[in-house]
Assembly symmetry: C4
Homo-oligomer: 245 residues x 4
């Protein structure tokens, strides 16, 4: 385990990332797994074998990697947008296939500036959960419960809960994740104190990302692709959208 924990030089998250990627790129099996989650965030989705597969599917071969990470004494977490995936129907219509989310990843500290990447835990905030987060006031708190195996035979075997609670002294919050896994018979707990400034970054960045994880940027971008969606002149009488079915 210790051989897998990483030095995180606070002055450069990217070098750290690079190291992680080299490390990950040697674990082919895991790569193929996480590849399937189609999320630009996951470290393993970023490595070369992965991006080659993507290229085969017509993806850009580049994956941009820019999480916002909060490093604290006992644990760290990062957050990054995970875009929705789309499916094209025979009709040519593009529909959301899997919804986007804000992916949070937690790591334990295992020494000065060392965090245990191997034992990380993840929590994917839905659009509505992001709505809770960005609307929180200084006194508010929120808690979310997930069952990653919901609707599968393992339903209830793994329970995750994320909570955001204000500090007693009212300047900042505790961001905590609990993961109870009855399959592995483990219980995991992370708690990261954040400042109001760090929470403001999360709120502003999540507000920016929300329409993107909802896929609405793809709706509003359509017109640019349609050269301003012109209609032939003359065909311009006003029709009532509500009237039609």
């Amino acid at each position: 385990m210790f051989k897998l924990s990483r030095v995180l030089p606070l002055t450069s998250s990217s070098r750290h990332t690079a190291q992680l990627l080299e490390m990950v790129s040697s674990r082919k099996v895991e790569v193929r797994d996480s590849l399937r989650d189609g999320c630009g965030f996951t470290y393993s989705a970023s490595i070369s074998t992965a991006t080659n597969n993507y290229a085969a599917k017509g993806y850009a071969s580049d994956r941009v990697f820019a999480p916002y990470t909060v490093y604290k004494g006992k644990a760290a977490f990062s957050i990054s947008p995970c875009l929705p995936t789309f499916t094209k129907l025979d009709s040519g219509t593009v529909v959301v296939d899997r919804r986007g989310s804000m992916m949070m990843t937690f790591m334990h500290s295992v020494g000065e500036r060392k965090y245990d990447w191997e034992k990380r835990q993840r929590f994917a905030l839905s659009a509505t959960e992001v709505g809770s987060l960005i609307t929180m006031g200084a006194q508010d708190s929120c808690e979310f419960f997930h069952d990653p195996s919901m609707l599968s035979s393992n339903a209830g075997q793994v329970r995750k809960s994320l909570s955001i609670k204000p500090h007693a002294n009212n300047n900042g919050y505790f961001v905590s994740l609990t993961v109870v896994n009855n399959l592995l018979n483990t219980k995991d707990y992370f708690s990261v104190p954040i400042t109001t400034a760090e929470f403001a970054v999360m709120k502003t960045a999540c507000s920016f990302a929300l329409p993107h994880i909802m896929g609405w940027d793809q709706i509003t971008n359509q017109q640019s692709r349609d050269t301003v969606g012109l209609q032939p002149k003359g065909d311009s009488q006003v029709l009532d959208l509500e009237w039609e079915k």
Copy 2:
């Protein structure tokens, strides 16, 4: 009617959508109607015959479909941006032909996780109505009245009202739509309770969408298309915009 109601698996709205689209694509007449509303939101505007027509008009053949939907016990509603259409004048000027809106679609529940798509009702929020929505405080409420046949011979025959009212317990709102149709002699009522988190998503997503339904994104995008709208150097004395007529 029951044969038309759909299972909505909450874990995947897209599969549901796909089913709807197959279903709709068999009803040619309706398709041609709703095609004319030119709004990326409508289900039927998305089917293949539709997109072919679009292609003929120089539209992208893809239509992206990503509504934000709130499913509750008795009813559900979805909301999605409906972009403005533009007309190009002989002068080359592009003007808004029909204004954009935020399209809301309501459906009754007709059983566990079943909603009656056939009897849906729609309500298109104007830019100013969106302004009311995004400025609402926790205690505020608002109500909008539409007559889809306004200025036509059927004026007053159909009356729609949408209201958003805070819960008594002050955490969330009721979103309700009433449609009185004297032509069909029907009265329809939908009410969907939403949480503050769901309302926060609506506010944030509508704030994002507002400049797009106003067409302002097309104004601000012009310069990118103009390669930063450069002027030949020398022709750069400052002129007073206000002074000119």
Copy 3:
């Protein structure tokens, strides 16, 4: 004058616009003047002779026209972003040549749904004035004073003031423009009551437009044009921005 006043069908601002453009396009001299102000907003900058000139300068030949207009009993005003113009130096650097603004245009009512376009008056809000507007609370008011001839021989001859003051009943504002022109020996006054919803649209749309009239969207767009502004690998040690001069 009356022959110049226009019917403004509230259900379609664009047809109105079209008429105005035909009307304007016959006044060549004025066209050439207002062409020079390079602002996508001005009606006359949108007509064909204008766009031809633009094309000659490498502009897109299309001009998108989508003001937000508030029509009230005695007067109307519209607001629309007016993008900055840029100059390219011999060095290849692109600098702001004339700052952008939010252009407001006021018209008097001259009968039911008729507004006098010929006697319109304009007021261009600077970025900082937009800052005042978007930060206004329900009780706040603001007033701006402009001298379009500032620094010219006509300094002080024309004085414009725009004020935004809350209604007594505290739901909405009065938006008023006064123009005193000692050259023409005229005094002009417009006052348009707006609702909180209409003001919310103005605030949200102006907040969206602000970075664009500042030209910051051109800074943040650079990287996309630079294919994510990659640096050759290896040349990636962290340098201190503050240290350098």
Copy 4:
């Protein structure tokens, strides 16, 4: 020194900029230094020799220059986004190499409308520091401390602190920078009073810029480059992001 101070005509920041650029372009050595910081903001990064180097690296040859500047009696400061730089790994993954920031530049007044560009001092706000700024209330204040030589042999030799404190009369703030340089044995102090309107512009523009200096716009732009990141139909079962490692 005086020969280096510049007239800043308040009606046109760009002409001023042009002059500065000519001036800077004669100082080759400094150019090469500041070129390396890769920030579109720095004056010297904008000059021709610079942009030629950039072009050689596949950069766009244009650099857009549009700071927001507040000129006051004793000093002035400007603020502008400084985008992150990225490194492409052999794997094809693009990672943040140096984080972006909001670059503030302070200059002393050296006469009516003259500011001493040569003795400017800079302070680069990190994403989290921007979070503090945009979340400040009317009564709040904040202070940041930087050591540009942190982790180098000169650590502690230069200390910078930026503070933003509300006016006593509660309409606006003082933005102050102190720089103590033990290497040059100098102490420098700037203080610029700003109005609530000017601060609102800073907050709104910084909120707009924050996702860009974090590099999140590059994440959300990926999909557009991926033509909506389509997956082949059929490969669309929902996978649980949290479940995977």
